[in-house]
Symmetry: C4
Subunit: 219 residues, 4 copies
Amino acid sequence: MTDVVAELRERVCALHRELPRNGLVAWTSGNLSARVPGEQLMVIKAGGVPFDELTPEAIVVCDLHGALVDGALSPSSDAATHGVVYRRMPEVGGVAHTHSSYATAWAARGEPIPCVLTAMADEFGGEIPVGPFARIGDAELGAGIVATLAGHRSPAVLMRSHGVFTVGPGPREAIKAAVMCEDVARTVHLARALGDPIPIAREDIDALYDRYQNAYGQR
Amino acid sequence: MTDVVAELRERVCALHRELPRNGLVAWTSGNLSARVPGEQLMVIKAGGVPFDELTPEAIVVCDLHGALVDGALSPSSDAATHGVVYRRMPEVGGVAHTHSSYATAWAARGEPIPCVLTAMADEFGGEIPVGPFARIGDAELGAGIVATLAGHRSPAVLMRSHGVFTVGPGPREAIKAAVMCEDVARTVHLARALGDPIPIAREDIDALYDRYQNAYGQR
Amino acid sequence: MTDVVAELRERVCALHRELPRNGLVAWTSGNLSARVPGEQLMVIKAGGVPFDELTPEAIVVCDLHGALVDGALSPSSDAATHGVVYRRMPEVGGVAHTHSSYATAWAARGEPIPCVLTAMADEFGGEIPVGPFARIGDAELGAGIVATLAGHRSPAVLMRSHGVFTVGPGPREAIKAAVMCEDVARTVHLARALGDPIPIAREDIDALYDRYQNAYGQR
Amino acid sequence: MTDVVAELRERVCALHRELPRNGLVAWTSGNLSARVPGEQLMVIKAGGVPFDELTPEAIVVCDLHGALVDGALSPSSDAATHGVVYRRMPEVGGVAHTHSSYATAWAARGEPIPCVLTAMADEFGGEIPVGPFARIGDAELGAGIVATLAGHRSPAVLMRSHGVFTVGPGPREAIKAAVMCEDVARTVHLARALGDPIPIAREDIDALYDRYQNAYGQR
């Protein structure tokens, strides 16, 4: 195992802590993966391991069809799905998956989250879309994620009756999108529970998205 | 006291920590028990002890009618109910009980939680059913749990106007079912609050349940 | 200052930790007091002190009209209200006050919490009643608490547009009632949000209450 | 850098901890600033820095148009907005900004939070108003905050489709207003979800506000 892979396993292990810390997961559900740069490989959480027992050894190396390449534990049963995303979206370096409550509630109704918050315009550039139903572990699930993301600026997609998948240039950005997805899913749920949130004009969404993607944070 | 019982008391004591950690209990409510393998005995939390003061001494040994066999403290007032489950369901090695908020809200309306999430199909294989009203401590309560579980694949049952009972081959699986029950109770509540969750086809539920029970996690 | 008072200040200081720990308070709101046995005195939180800076010195001694008797800080602006309860209810040894969210939402509508959970029958013996509106600090507020509790078995009362007051034989029981009040307020809120909780028959409530008050926990 | 500024950066850094601790922020969103006494300067969080990596070096010094004066990191993209508040409201010494969920849900509907709780009368002296929509970073946003606060006693304003801005004589009071704003936003949301909260009479609101502003806490 190269140093690059070893370092990636440690980093992805540490980033998994953000899932329970931000209230996105219950028991062992939810996972994060990262592409091994320049290889047809990824690292991903082993299946069924509790978050507070996670060590870099429980972040295993798989090929992009989800088959185990290096590691003593079986990969997450979502590994093949993550693999489809890496094979079909070369710009993606990290994928996260959760069943976070508010976002999954929108997914259970098959309803996209409308862009009614400036924070949504910033991060998602519009609505968070819903992808089709597919059985877990099926290639169909990965294909549905890729097809749905293709039509939107959002790095997050709600898979019908299932949960959230998010992508980013690296694993940290994928986790951030999962955290922000649940945050806006909750706020828009609460807004809708007592009335109708006011739409934001398309040109304002575009201006907010452009500013956030190009001028926010540290350059 | 044998070493087996001593080890079981320690393990059950440690597993009780999952109840407050996952937000399933308030004050001293909620408890977990485990069958003593090969004996007509179980270990169970003593009544009214705060979770953060719990020691293995507060996990007492009872017969399967709930009578104290070994320990300085009185058993939980739910001991007789747990006992009925062990007597009537020989495959059960652990029982958990909570009043977790979202699940108990479904129980208060006497309404089963419909299977509209892949995570529910995985863990519960269908709806989470509702059992009849019975007074706490009554043999009737245990009988109601057993009768309701008999007609379902779910390891969790909502007892009307009361709360959740879950079973498993051991105490860890019973706790996991209690955690997942509250998680799906919350998500389906949120989904229903703003509309109608989309049903999952019976054959998809069956395929998901089969995969999860046979291929998930570490083998 | 006697040893009895010093010990009581330490105990009441430590019990205040349960308020933020159980999510019952925001910033410096909420307080707990205890009667000094055999004296016309109580100890109570000083006003406006953050919970994580609380020391026994910030638990001051007052007479039962709320006037400071011993301590370097001003008592809570609720001191006079607590004092009315101790003067009019000799059986009470502890009083807690919170604005916990779900319970206060019922108070804002002026609506009692109906007894639709076995846990409510256990702890409250029926509905949690609503007392009249009164300005904070007014003698009227204390009088409203006492008059409303008089007609119920509940150790908790929702004061209209304001929050929760609970009583107990000592300060620990008062805190427990505040924790359980918020817990059932949330569960019944969630149950009502999606339909109608099923009533529990009066004779079942009576049987549950009797059992819990006389046979629960350690004797 | 003077000692006054160094001390202020440390204090503002420490106060930022209250934002995640009180559940007001997700990922790196939300910020706090403070006026440098007697100077046309403020200190404010650098943009995009995680809360648990925040050090006094990440609290940078800006002029009141949001331009960096001292510090190695870029200021928050909200700096110009905070600056407008300090320029137009000389009595303000601290400004906080969050997207806290319940308050932002009211903002998404463009609906002020009605004053139906004694705790709201105490802290806000009436409703929490809604300001107009404006793009983030625009001078318009700051102008909208100032204009809306001008017509109310509330130290908090909900900016439409965006989130919360609060002010105070210093940064601690601004944070407190942000915590209390979310707390009452949640309680009134919950009250409204199941019916109609009862209004509080104007003269009672005035009496409560006057008492709280002049007699609460330690003098």
